[in-house]
Amino acid sequence: MNAYLKISEIIVPPLITVGLGAFVAQRFFVSRANEGAMVDFMVGELRELQNDSLEYWTLSADSTENKQRQTVLAQKIKGMIKSLSADCNYYCDRYCKYKLGELQSLLVEVSDACTGGDFESVRKKVDTGRYILIVNAINRVKSELHRRKL
């Protein structure tokens, strides 16, 4: 019985230490994996926003079909920006509170690029110049998110 107690005195403390260490490490890696998944999800949303915005600004309203498509795209773009704003708030609240201001100001640029000018206007013309504005604004957000992930 004494031998058994002696052995357990030797083994139990390191086992507890290893167990706690493994628990902390597991928590860390799970948190990193969840953060990575969240970043990937937001990057996917940004990619979709970029595609829809580019289609919207290069679509001429010369047919009823195109006008209908423009209306759908405009709603998708506005909805996606709002959804990105909510995701960004959640992400920063969960993983990096200090980044909220920076990401929000980048989203302001994205919103300005995607929905500025003659957005939702009957005067809207094909505006290929917006391509670079939209791509740059969205890429700045993507870079910031990827920097956090790596």
Binding site: I81, S85, G116, G117, E120, S121
Partner: protein, 113 residues
């Protein structure tokens, strides 16, 4: 201020929850209509609080025309608006629209300078 009570415009409740476009030709709930029929009459040198929560999102064109238009039309300067206008958003998801509004007011003042 009217009797120390700040006027309050809730866009979603008083105007529409689907603001859209810049000019009245773009739709019935355009930025210009909001500015001319709601915001400018409410301001008239009084403080106004504009609640931006509760809508389905804003296009920058709406915000630019509604708020930046106050400066471009010569109704108020950006400095006056800083004192008179309060943009309220209790839902943090709308914070980017509040930032956009101030950005357009600033940009409009630089355009007319």
């Amino acid at each position: 201020m009217v009797g120390d009570i700040m006027k309050r415009i809730d866009i979603a409740k008083d105007f529409t929850d689907t603001p859209l476009g810049r000019y009245p030709t773009d739709g019935p709930y355009s930025g210009e209509r909001f500015r001319e029929e709601f915001l400018y009459p409410a301001l008239k040198n009084d403080s106004v609080s504009v609640v931006i929560d509760g809508t389905e999102g804003y296009g920058s064109s709406f915000l630019d025309e509604a708020f930046g238009g106050l400066v471009r039309k010569g109704y108020y300067s950006a400095d006056q608006l800083v004192k008179l206008l309060k943009i309220e958003c209790n839902d943090s998801d709308y914070a980017i629209y509040r930032d956009l509004i101030w950005k357009y007011i600033k940009e409009a003042s630089m355009q007319i300078a």
